[in-house]
Symmetry: D3
Subunit: 135 residues, 6 copies
Amino acid sequence: MYSVTVRDNMMIAHSLRGDVFGPAQRLHGATYVVEVTLFRADLDADGIVADIGRATALLGDILAPYAYRNLDELAEFAGRNTTTEILARAIFEHYAEGVRAGRLDGDTGRAIESLAVTLRENPDAWACYEGAVRG
Amino acid sequence: MYSVTVRDNMMIAHSLRGDVFGPAQRLHGATYVVEVTLFRADLDADGIVADIGRATALLGDILAPYAYRNLDELAEFAGRNTTTEILARAIFEHYAEGVRAGRLDGDTGRAIESLAVTLRENPDAWACYEGAVRG
Amino acid sequence: MYSVTVRDNMMIAHSLRGDVFGPAQRLHGATYVVEVTLFRADLDADGIVADIGRATALLGDILAPYAYRNLDELAEFAGRNTTTEILARAIFEHYAEGVRAGRLDGDTGRAIESLAVTLRENPDAWACYEGAVRG
Amino acid sequence: MYSVTVRDNMMIAHSLRGDVFGPAQRLHGATYVVEVTLFRADLDADGIVADIGRATALLGDILAPYAYRNLDELAEFAGRNTTTEILARAIFEHYAEGVRAGRLDGDTGRAIESLAVTLRENPDAWACYEGAVRG
Amino acid sequence: MYSVTVRDNMMIAHSLRGDVFGPAQRLHGATYVVEVTLFRADLDADGIVADIGRATALLGDILAPYAYRNLDELAEFAGRNTTTEILARAIFEHYAEGVRAGRLDGDTGRAIESLAVTLRENPDAWACYEGAVRG
Amino acid sequence: MYSVTVRDNMMIAHSLRGDVFGPAQRLHGATYVVEVTLFRADLDADGIVADIGRATALLGDILAPYAYRNLDELAEFAGRNTTTEILARAIFEHYAEGVRAGRLDGDTGRAIESLAVTLRENPDAWACYEGAVRG
């Protein structure tokens, strides 16, 4: 199995509801370093998993609505905690949708089998969601 | 599949028996940077894999008996080499036991399916053990 | 010249006033990885610049009032932008005060000549303030 | 499952054919940080996945013909793009052949089940090929 | 003294003349991770050393003519070795010129006292040039 | 001012005497990542601070007597604590002696003005000694 990973980051504010979060129930923030890994069994005719330029641009487009935002105010997350795990899943869903929509070009869109999205919140903690691009 | 990783480190002395180890047969030491990854299929009601505070505390409790020790003198490893691989497995077993015992709280204890324990011994070498929490 | 550096991190929310900040004028946040370097010309009788345990504890105490907070609401920064540079300076002033007050123990307090405080806000940007412990 | 990873790097020149590569169609270069992960189900009698010294030496031998070279001039890659993915696969094939040939010693050669080869080309992009050692 | 650092990278080919370079006399390449640190004694009215967006854009503009190029073919370096040290100095000169020309805005241009330019060529080697912005 | 840095690492055991060291009074160990920075005002005729191959070899020769050793048993450190600071100074002295003795070649030996030696003991703590090559 081949994979390619692209990386970007975003700086956001948010708060978390639930006693389990202790001081993180207060409004605070994070720099999330975001890595998206694209998996496929074989390479295309150019010898790549995906065009790294397009793969990076798709990630940038997905992060743009979150960047420099208070996630508590975004309709997308209304009524939900924006934990690192839930953000990883949200970015995964947007990225998978972009892949299916041909954002990486048509052939790549069909060949990518699964994605892993990792969000690093500080040097000692990170979360990941990995799943298939097609249900 | 979701995962969360927490990280800590320990500084230990040890020696290794066997010609294969060359100069590492002498008493020497290591800073081990230890990463524990917890895997589960779905998130809990709070939107997390596990309480990161508890997950980190469990790791700290497991590393405490090794920290600032000569592993050659620990009963746990009597008659065995404390290679990076064997230490990864030992920390895995202690962590899995902690998960089963409800150290991450009862619901999380039941939901965590597997663990991966990585020990980085220097910038150019590391080892990992990954396995199911329940036989 | 000798130096020792200790590292910690904090996750905060804030906003910045001024056109120069563009989208960072909105409420957002950051994980700040904070490094404090202590400089002195000679070592103490134990062969150290400072007790690393105390040096780390002092940093933790200084970051505690900021951790998991919206810096816009802190009296300390009323009427000022909490840029990375200003935060580096604020942590420097608190740390220098701690050193002068003997928090690292009396002898070390007298020997530390200067401090450098670095705040890393993302993988591609960081700021530093370096100055003397005594005017 | 156990694994051990060893790391090395190489500095090469190359160019890539195909419109998808944009400016990378020009002759340029890269520092590739190369990580090889060896997987096996159980440890050997010494408590290791493989002799880390031999595992590192094998990687060094494989990278030597590429180091400080223009890959466009190597017969091995004639008529093919030396993308990060294709280089990861080439290093995988050479390493798997070395494992099968007993380069890590006979017992280890038989026990290693699969390999993952990761090439990091810059802080924001890397590629990996993972596969079985035996068809 | 305050400082701010911004980071970018470039992937280039080149060769080096002189027996001292051994195999690096052959055409090869590198990923250079480039860090530029801007020093000034006091902050501006916004509480910053420089607009990090402009500081990053200036670095990007300076690296653009080198990116995905064979440095052996650039007129700028005709008759000179493009060692890491010489590249650090070249980027320093271009950046200092940009600062003096007001690329970071007029006030910042006058306040920046010195720059340090670091080029990391692999995990185990890097070079730096530090100097005053004004002769 | 120009500088070049080379990096290596060593894995050692040791213990520290003095109440200030708490649990580190017990026999334990560390992976020390060692960085040596060489400073000089101008480059040589080849456009370098020093031959990076020789600079790395000199560091390797200096670390060899410590590697995979219990520093408590080395005559060099008899009666002294092998704190990170003292090790940084010891490596500095050996490296400066090597520079003065022409190990980097004669011209470089005369041109290197100062050295900085950094030892990283874990992700959150490191020490440095910087000084002139000639008294």
